[in-house]
Amino acid sequence: MALEVKTNDPLEVGGRTFNSRLMIGTGKYKDMEETDLAIRASGAEIVTVALRRTNIGQNPGEPNLLDVISPDEFCILPNTAFCYTAEEAVRTCRLARELLDGHDLVKLEVLGDHKTLYPNVTETLAAAETLVNDGFKVMVYTSDDPLVAKRLEEMGCVAVMPLGAPIGSGLGIRNPHNIQLILENANVPIIVDAGVGTPSDAALAMEMGCEGVLMNSAVAHAGNPILMAQAMRKAVECGREGYLAGRMPRKAYASASSPIDGVIGG
């Protein structure tokens, strides 16, 4: 039986404490049962949901998402997906707060265009300012620009969530150097949101020192979403432990692991 080293290493964001550093979306699953099982296999405590008009977006006869992923059991993180202006995003967050009985933790994302789903940074900044002043705890999706990330932190966002690659692309972290620059200057949790495709992508983000990873497609569009959710849970834990352990220094040349002296026949 392997020795298990326990790390007392909770994630603190917006005045709340979490044991899991994997945050997961609820979109693109085959059905509500798969959504439920994948989220539970992921071990995620923070689960993001979208808000839509009641006449669309659900298979008839299926239970309401919040009956399956209950706010009593999970920290629901309403998002502003497909908002293209600050005004739409703020409106969505206020509706979410009403929907969830005053819950103030939100994921702000204001998108720029349909093709890349890149964040519209100017609208994101405007929305963040309004929401912070309105008492929301804002976890903000943004580009991997270190200056913008710092500005969002200074404005009072409780977590800054740069993309690793475009939403739903599964391309992994395309610019680790920028994520590193963001991490060096950060005083709030930095969470890679979007772009992760594989467990190794998630582990890389965590090894670099990110406080968490948020994903949806990497799990929902996997061949077996439930198994992938489990793999992602392990990858995030594994990357975090690697970060806490501290990697060995890189060297240009080999360094023998066995003693040089006393070689047989030497």
Partner: protein, 67 residues
Amino acid sequence: MIELNVNGEEIRLYQLKTINDLLKTMSLTEQRVAVEVNGEIIPRSQHDNTRLSDGDAIEIVRAIGGG
């Protein structure tokens, strides 16, 4: 009879006075929803005593899967 715009659709309803009446008509009373009337959020506690008027624009939203 009053005419309302509900989630972008024009509908005509009879004998309907409050938001709760509308939610009953739409079989949404058991669901967790948030309601906006003419751009203003109406807290759940006021659904029963908020009267609707001809021409009101109403948004009724709920949580669905998303990332």
